[in-house]
């Protein structure tokens, strides 16, 4: 029997949740015996090659491309896990939701103290994806199956959840592994 496949994505996140996956340290060598990695920025398949058992999603959706990637993951993965606060509730990037997008762009590209922008044009080239009006948590875009709290969730929590799912056991997370900071 072939090994189950795991895919990961970083949407509007800081990559800290991916770093926390790597913080399982030497257990990563056990993990690569248990699973095959598919599309992931860590060992980076740039597209899905096969159907995956588990998709881990870091970050919410702040632009059209994030939405596209998330939908692609829903289509290709049996189980989707929202990894960390950004995926669960938008996190720090969602702080922009209380402010008109125009003001955020103006601060970055027109009014900042180091800005040099004689044409006063805000980046708008067709090559860069369109920003959404606000940052959306994953479950507002597609159905999510599990949520792992923390910013980021501790490596031990990620390990416990993954090994439980891969061996068909219920996920048991002791209190210390649930961090809300």
């Amino acid at each position: 029997m072939s090994k189950p496949r795991v895919a990961t994505a970083s949407l509007a996140g800081c990559f800290g949740c991916h770093m926390s996956i790597l913080d399982i340290d030497d257990r990563i060598l056990q993990l690569i015996e248990l699973v095959e990695f598919d599309k992931s920025p860590i060992d980076d398949y740039k597209g899905f090659t096969q159907r995956c058992a588990i998709g881990l999603i870091e970050g919410g959706c702040c632009n059209a491309e994030n939405v596209h990637v998330l939908q692609d993951f829903r289509k290709n993965c049996d189980i989707l896990i929202a990894l960390g606060e950004c995926a669960i509730c938008g996190g720090i990037p969602a702080m922009r939701n209380t402010i008109p997008l125009r003001e955020c762009l103006a601060e970055a590209y027109l009014d900042g103290p180091t800005v040099h922008n004689p044409s006063r044009r805000i980046p708008d080239d067709p090559e860069i994806p369109r920003l959404l009006n606000r940052v959306y948590p994953c479950h507002e875009v597609v159905k999510m199956d599990y949520y792992l709290q923390g910013c980021p969730p501790p490596a031990d929590a990620i390990w416990a959840a993954l090994t439980a799912l891969l061996t068909n056991r219920p996920i048991q997370l002791p209190y210390e592994l649930l961090k809300y900071d």
């Binding site: 790597l22 913080d23 990563i28 060992d43 900042g112």
Partner: protein
């Protein structure tokens, strides 16, 4: 590049590598070839935007060190400390108690160690060990773990040691809370110290080994690498008052491609007089430059290569010996070889390990004076040498203790123009008039990876390349499309 808008010329062939990066966000490369298959435009676009500078307004100043690190979970410590250094000024503190400064330095060297190890072992070693054209299915860290298990374990354990130091100094491996305005919130216990001392010799030995791999690789391939994605540039970093490399604090020094000083020992609180950032419509990442030279000539490189090029010496013996050997290659003048970043990075890895050793033997880490106080000031500007280069944090705080203004220039942004130059150079040298293969496209990413812009930027194509080649008409309509999901 003649024009800054996306060209849509008839029969121009457009090549996209996506996703290529996640540089505090996400990036892609586009290359346009004309009818003669010449490169007419090659660009690295940064495609994500956060708006942090605006939405942090109104937050209390003491939140900044914990909030702002959520910009980047790859080197959160750098943001944590740069913000803390700015907030030291806001609470009126110019000199920290020795325990506080040394705890922060220990945290920072731990960060250097973990970040440089991650980049070299997990991300770059596959290119070096298997070659740029190797089968993408093995050209990744899993492939390294299967073929060179000892090396993979060393990489994992070096990174772990750095992360454990961060945990002991900041409270958490990722997004800690150790640094506070005016100081630090804990010291290092004897038990913690002894735990680190126990593994130290092994860490030093592995660091020497990593340096040797990077050095030997560069020397063996020097002929091919010298020109690979290379170009002359200015270099910028912080520098200690006596000219030593200092990753935590110093004045700004910029040197030209041949070594002439552009400015030196500049108090970084005056950075606005020296640095500006150009906005271009095709990227959310701005393009910094030295004001006196203007946007055309003033762009510069930061990070390990730039730091080696700006420093007069390194104050730890083994890294200094390595620096001398490195600089001898260019007779003491700046080294402008893009691929020399890897060697420079490993010299810094060993330097970080040596610094950690020296700090662990310093009794100040067990001191109990953790914090200083002073008169509130309205502005704080904190700079630090992050693993990827100089990082700028600038805050203005109003009388209600709320942040009124914020300006950040993150390390990778400083390397924006250089990364684009590297992409352009490799595209010209390898993609013109030939059958485009995955290996050739990987070369574009190899050049970007040298700058260690961020994790997924530095990652690898496996199996299927999401390579898209489009022939686009003048009206923007796609006339022909091929190669999507091309297997190569």
């Amino acid at each position: 590049m003649a024009t800054e808008t996306a060209e849509r010329k008839p029969t121009a062939k457009r090549i996209v590598i996506e996703p290529v990066t996640r540089v505090e966000g996400h990036g892609k490369v586009t290359i346009l070839l004309d009818e003669q298959e010449r490169v007419r435009q090659a660009r690295l676009h940064i495609v994500e935007f956060r708006g942090f500078e605006r939405y942090i307004r109104g937050r209390p100043y003491w939140e900044a060190p914990v909030l702002v690190q959520r910009l980047c979970g790859i080197c959160p410590v750098s943001h944590h400390l740069a913000a803390a250094k700015a907030m030291d000024q806001v609470v009126g503190v110019d000199t920290l108690p020795p325990t506080a400064e040394k705890m922060r330095r220990l945290m920072h060297y731990g960060q250097m160690l973990q970040s440089h190890a991650l980049h070299f072992f997990h991300l770059v070693s596959p290119d070096l060990l298997f070659g740029f054209d190797a089968d993408p299915a093995i050209r990744n860290i899993v492939g390294v773990a299967r073929k060179f298990p000892d090396l993979a374990v060393q990489g994992v354990m070096l990174r772990k040691y750095g992360q454990e130091i961060i945990k002991a100094t900041a409270g958490k491996k990722i997004h800690g809370t150790g640094a506070i305005p005016g100081g630090i919130n804990k010291n290092l216990s004897i038990a913690e110290r002894d735990g680190f001392l126990k593994d130290l010799d092994q860490i030093l030995a592995w660091s020497r080994g990593a340096l040797k791999i990077a050095r030997d690789y560069t020397m063996e391939h020097l002929k091919d690498l010298a020109d690979f994605g290379s170009f002359e540039s200015n270099h910028l970093s912080l520098i200690r008052a006596d000219g030593a490399m200092d990753l935590y604090h110093g004045g700004l020094r910029a040197v030209g491609a041949r070594g002439g000083k552009i400015f030196d020992h500049v108090d970084y609180r005056n950075y606005l007089d020296y640095i500006a950032e150009e906005v271009k419509p095709w990227s959310y990442m701005k393009f910094p430059f030295i004001k006196s030279l203007g946007p055309e000539k003033g762009w510069y490189r930061v990070g390990p290569l730039a730091r080696l090029n700006t420093a007069d010496f390194i104050d730890t013996p083994e890294a200094e010996a390595a620096r001398k050997e490195f600089m001898a290659l260019t007779k003491g003048k700046p080294n402008n070889v893009t691929m020399a970043y890897h060697w420079a990075r490993m010299i810094e890895l060993l330097h970080a390990a040596e610094k950690i050793r020296d700090l662990l033997h310093d009794a100040d880490l067990q001191g109990t004076e953790l914090r200083a106080r002073g008169e509130r000031r309205p502005v704080g500007i904190g700079l630090i040498e992050a693993p990827r280069g100089t990082l700028f944090h600038h805050y203005e705080v109003d009388e209600n203790d709320q942040i009124a203004r914020c300006n950040l220039i993150v390390s990778t942004t400083n390397n924006n123009t250089p990364m684009n130059r590297a992409v352009e150079k490799v595209a010209h040298d390898y993609l013109e008039g030939v059958q485009i293969t995955e290996g050739l496209l990987n070369r574009i990413e190899v050049a970007i990876r040298a700058y260690d812009p961020c994790l997924s930027c530095a990652t690898h194509a496996m199996g299927r390349m999401p390579l898209e080649v489009e022939i686009v008409g003048a009206d923007g309509a796609v006339r022909a499309r091929g190669g999507k999901g091309l297997y190569v």
